[in-house]
Symmetry: C3
Subunit: 224 residues, 3 copies
């Protein structure tokens, strides 16, 4: 895994999306609405997803389904992806959670929902992507119901999109992309050439060549 | 009031939300969607609400209901909370309004709607929270209809939430929380211990203790 | 045109919106939801619109309607206004497009949809306003269908608002305003006095005069 990630390291979310589009993966793997809330040194997230599902308390069984606290189950070298029920005013993630992830050597946090303690996230230099911010802990309204299972994305324009265990999450200032694990090697294989063509196109166009001519020449067709 | 506010001063919106949640107040008093638009020296808002209701011009009576200009009625030592009709493209608040509030010694502005003149707000170092930004004055579409009355919050996920005269508004980078005036003293009473437990939890977790063990020991239960 | 634009240069989007409101133009020309994504040296956009319509691929005719690549058709001294279908997760504009516009001497880009390569936009010091950000190219879902025609704005609170060829777009930190070309001269005519009254009002209010008295005296009525 580390070898795969180091090969992805030089590329941004848009590069990866281009590769996934080339491989006919819908939306180039883009997960709409998830934004970097704690600009850290790198401003980036990169690693395999450990998805956690939160459900509304109405669905809570009488016995706890997740023993202890879910955050203690997040392994090293992974990115927590927390899927919250839509339209929740409460936050489902805060500063103490990041302290735990940092301690165990996890790689970052994505919350499809609200995050709180944002100054503490920044102070800890912890990369957090989220849909929105909030102030109030979530236990009043929801609970962690399942660990490391496929979870739904709450993006109105992407019904049915799921995030799966082991998907490689790549996030930066443009947003977050998920590479399905079975496509990771293919993405890595085509990324260098795609990025090289992109750089060449940019140079051509900056030099005054038309985009039509540039794309026809460099890409063999008008659009990527 | 000043004595109460000085006791709240050291705490953030998340701390206050934790206290309100402990007191079973819904959503910990969070008012979703209201964000700091003019990062001032403190980046904070703290003070009792003076709520003003704006209504669409369709509801405007033939005689003015608010004599003069509503902004002249906002008292010193209070925070203007302006509730605008939902889905208005026009702004309902601008730079001259802040100049007035600054002059009379008010404490800040929250607009449940759009604010304009944002560079002027920043230049005046005036704390403004709002739902969104805009360019166009509101008089084309709406008017100030009632002063210092309970007003509705326009948060899709919080139907029925009201902001009341004298609610203590506490806002920072995470968002805005309203403390109902009848709960202020209780909040102040429990805040120091809650914040101390929080600090101790953070230190424990940073030191490598599991969150489950930490919360069980420090909070007597798994979640706050 | 250059003479007109230089007369608009000293004013911000709010000033222009005030002038358009005075001329009874709806919403003061405000185009809700379009925000500056690449704070450039000036943080501003000013110039006549060259609108381009994108449609979903379902509406794509068998023969290309726009020859070559649409971006090559954007002329110097104009602002590209790109109208994308609503609720598209894909971006419809990226870094290479800005390189082209920069080369031909265009003035900026407004995307009523998602933009990608945001760090590249910033690196190029290119002013881009957009509704949102994204990572994935748009060709999977949509295509450029018409150039330099009236296009719809995707603002839920402004149904029916169109952006027309030659509308003067004025954008800054507060947002984007479109001046219909037939109103440009009138706007320019009344702007200096409106802005002067505004400055005088601000000074009066900062000096302690009530807003009611100030507006009555300076504007001849309570609201602008």
């Amino acid at each position: 895994m580390k070898a795969l990630l180091s090969k992805l390291q030089p590329y941004g979310a848009c590069d990866v999306a281009d590769a996934l589009t080339r491989l006919k993966h819908p939306y180039g793997g883009f997960l709409a609405g998830l934004k970097l809330r704690s600009p850290s040194t790198s401003g980036k997230i990169l690693g395999p997803a450990f998805p956690v599902l939160f459900e509304r308390n109405e669905h809570k069984p009488s016995k706890p389904v997740v023993p202890g606290h879910y955050i203690d189950a997040v392994p090293a070298e992974m990115v927590l992806f927390l899927s919250a029920p839509p339209d929740l005013p409460n936050a489902v993630y805060g500063g103490i959670m990041s302290a735990r992830l940092k301690h165990v050597g996890a790689l970052g946090t994505v919350v499809d929902g609200r995050v709180r303690d944002i100054r503490e996230q920044i102070a800890q230099d912890w990369p957090v992507f989220s849909r929105d911010l909030g102030t109030t802990a979530g236990a009043e309204l929801c609970f962690a119901s399942q660990l490391n299972v496929p979870v739904p994305l709450q993006s109105p324009s992407q019904p049915g999109v799921m995030v799966n265990p082991g998907d490689i999450l790549v996030g930066d200032a443009d947003g977050l992309v998920a590479i399905p694990s079975k496509l990771v090697e293919e993405v890595i294989e085509i990324l260098p050439q795609l990025a090289e063509v992109d750089r060449a196109c940019l140079a051509d166009v900056q030099g005054g060549r038309s985009v039509a001519e540039t794309f026809k020449d460099r890409r063999g067709r008008l659009r990527c």
